[in-house]
């Protein structure tokens, strides 16, 4: 009997972490459904970007209020989690506050955690007000209805509860209070329980302790289903983010091959393709579903925090067009999840479900509204590139379906015939000189 709590704790830990590991595996499998892309270059620049943007939150603070609050919650959450280490050791060994033997250092640490817990709590309340009372525009767009909205609030409730439990746990730990070191905040909470018997207080302390750690395990497993996944994926995502100038769009390699063949006078177009060459020609140009996108695009989709900074800077969205770069990312993730579930329920291989990203999630109208201005890419605090997805899907529309708006088809015909987007003769290109 004596070991029962420890046993229960170990079981909870194994289940919590085991389930999380399973989800991580699924996540990686889904991301790998994307097209291969080589991002092994420029390691030092990539590490630097990750350190600055993910760890250093350099892009978050571009919007000072949200940025500051976010830094508080982020630092608080990371630092307070050091305490989780102690909780785990305590839980497994049946000891109580193993680190407390460190004396004043321990007091200093717990004191810091307590202050941070209060700051996190306050910040989270402000975040909640911004979403639900002040109703900031970027949290109200159409793609934020339903689950995304409850998800945003749920995370905030989780954090409020966890911070409260942490402080209550300290306040009702009479031994800890007796040490009178590090109880900077909790000493003011202890008196709330002065009418309780010592036994009840102990019970409250134990419950707070258990709910705190169980809450953390539940939260860990909630990540996979939530925009909160960014707390993990922001790191790889900023590492693999685009390094070339924003205006540089990648050249489609499959097209390069075709163009080279066409331009090369030595190639006999009727010659039988060499062994294996057939496979080198891609099934299609551009992207109509998640498997056609690169794995970095898919990592982007899982990383999106749904903050809407991209959408609020988007000129198309600002002027009432259907396009929202945030929705592009959310649709990509939703479709990828759907494809993942399809694979799960079909013994590991995808069974055509008659759906795709293009049309069932993202409409042509959205895609044609983009000005390729890069405002969304610039605004994203975690180096996501919605524009890259939009361009791949336009490639599919044009090269596979010839589904460009008529005016664009005219423009392209002009380029093909006269080397200019308008119907002017190439031979007249220098006429301006004499006008």
């Amino acid at each position: 009997m004596e070991y029962l709590p420890q046993l229960l704790f170990a079981v909870a830990l194994v289940i919590g972490i085991g389930y999380f590991a399973r989800n991580v595996k699924k996540l990686m499998r889904n991301i790998k459904l994307g097209r291969a892309m080589d991002v092994s270059d420029n390691k030092s620049q990539r590490w630097k970007n990750m350190t600055m943007i993910a760890l250093g939150q350099s892009k978050m603070v571009k919007r000072p209020i949200a940025g500051f609050l976010h830094v508080v919650v982020y630092v608080g959450f990371v630092v307070i989690n050091i305490e989780v280490l102690e909780i785990i050791i305590d839980g497994l060994t049946g000891k109580h506050r193993v680190f407390s033997s460190a004396g004043s250092i321990y007091g200093f640490l717990i004191g810091t955690f307590e202050i941070l817990a209060v700051l996190v709590f306050v910040s989270v309340v402000i975040f909640w007000l911004r979403r639900n009372v002040i109703k900031l525009k970027r949290f109200l767009s159409s793609e934020m209805k339903g689950w995304p909205k409850s998800d945003g609030n749920m995370i905030l409730y989780f954090e409020m509860v966890l911070m409260t439990l942490f402080l209550v746990m300290n306040a009702t730990d009479l031994k800890f209070q007796a040490m009178d070191s590090g109880n900077i905040i909790s000493q003011y909470i202890t008196p709330w329980f002065s009418n309780f018997s010592e036994h009840s207080i102990h019970l409250i302390e134990r419950s707070a302790w258990w709910f705190h750690i169980l809450g953390i395990l539940v939260f860990l497993n909630y990540l996979y289903f939530s925009k909160h996944l960014h707390i993990l994926l922001a790191f790889p995502n900023t590492y693999y983010g685009k390094l070339t100038p924003k205006g540089q769009f990648e050249n489609n390699e499959a097209v390069t091959k075709e163009v080279k063949m066409m331009m090369d006078p030595n190639v006999d177009p009727f010659a039988a393709p060499p062994e294996g060459a057939e496979a080198a020609v891609p099934a299609k140009f551009g992207a109509s579903d998640v498997q056609d996108l690169s794995w970095v695009n898919l990592l982007n989709a899982y990383t999106c925090t749904e903050c809407g900074r991209c959408t609020s800077e988007c000129p198309a969205n600002q002027t009432g067009k259907a396009l929202s770069p945030r929705k592009i990312m959310m649709d990509t993730r939703d479709r990828l999840e759907e494809v993942g579930k399809n694979i799960d329920s079909n013994k590991g291989s995808f069974k055509d479900d008659g759906k795709q990203l293009l049309g069932d999630y993202i409409t042509n109208e959205e895609l044609w509204a983009c000005t390729s201005c890069n405002a969304c890419v610039e605004a994203c605090p975690v180096s996501i590139d919605p524009l890259n997805i939009i361009m791949q899907m336009r490639q599919y529309l044009v090269m596979e379906q010839s589904a460009a708006p008529m005016e664009l088809n005219n423009m392209m015909t002009n380029i093909e015939n006269n080397g200019a987007p308008w119907p002017y003769n190439q031979m007249d290109r220098l006429n301006w000189k004499n006008e």
């Binding site: 924003k246 163009v259 002027t319 509204a369 664009l408």
Partner: protein, 263 residues
């Protein structure tokens, strides 16, 4: 005036067995669009004034392929790119200047992988170099003290991080440079990019160029300066839409500098 423009072609340079200092890539807008042709001429006047040995491709120039690529027609883009690169490599071109940020971006960033490696400059960068080398002097002239706001072209600013060259030139005019509330890396698009120039906008509640023009007019400018022929068109239309064409002029930086010297 126009008979004084010296605009030699690469073919002429080649025939004379010479290499120009720089190729002036005029671009489709600069060659054919009535408004943009004025910008082209203003820039040529400045090049002539500074005695720059430049050449144009003339009838050998063809669209860079930018609007095709941004529309999704990668195939047409690469065909255009490969053709242009062939022409330029045959002339052994090393350095290019252009007054169009779209041409600038495409040649600078997307041509190298297809075999075209050149040093590419936007005309504002080039003019700034001429200035610092003492080959060109700028006086404020008629623009002294005028309120001028600069609209960042997406493909110059965010796309390629060129924010200061155009602003430095405006300051050199002794003009009062006023910034819009969203400028530089947060500058709002004029609405023309991504091939939108060539199509009707999608359904919405406002045109992007009107939104951007409103932001520009908030600064109470006498002149809206642009650095892109497409932005120029969009902002000019926006100003007309707001019925301000008698109070506010939309001008390219090259035009401002050329006019200030009474060229």
């Amino acid at each position: 005036m126009s008979e004084l423009l010296k605009v030699p072609t690469m073919a002429e340079f080649m025939a004379a067995g010479k290499q120009p200092e720089v190729l002036f890539w005029v671009g489709c807008a600069g060659s054919f669009d009535d408004r943009a042709k004025k910008i082209t001429k203003a820039f040529v006047k400045l090049l002539n004034k500074a005695n720059v040995e430049f050449a144009v491709l003339g009838t050998e120039e063809s669209c860079t392929g930018d609007p095709a690529k941004r529309s999704g027609n990668e195939f047409l883009f690469q065909m255009q790119a490969v053709t242009n690169i062939e022409v330029m490599n045959a002339y052994e071109i090393k350095k290019i200047v252009t007054a169009c940020p779209h041409c600038f971006n495409t040649i600078k960033n997307e041509y190298p992988e297809l075999g075209g490696n050149y040093e590419v400059m936007h005309h504002t960068q080039f003019l700034k170099t001429l200035l610092s080398e003492g080959r060109l002097t700028i006086e404020g002239g008629q623009y002294k003290g005028k309120r001028i706001t600069f609209h960042d072209p997406c493909y110059l600013g965010r796309a390629n991080q060129v924010y200061e060259a155009p602003r430095d030139l405006i300051r050199k005019l002794d003009a009062e440079l006023v910034e819009m509330k969203s400028c530089k890396s947060r500058g709002l698009c004029c609405g023309a990019g991504g091939a939108q120039m060539f199509k009707e906008p999608e359904k919405g509640n406002k045109d992007i160029n009107v939104e951007r023009t409103e932001q520009a007019l908030e600064t109470k400018p006498q002149i809206i300066a642009a650095g892109c022929p497409f932005c120029n068109t969009m902002m000019t239309d926006g100003v007309k839409n707001k019925e301000k064409e008698n109070d506010v002029a939309v001008m390219d930086i090259a035009e401002l500098i050329a006019n200030a010297q009474d060229l």
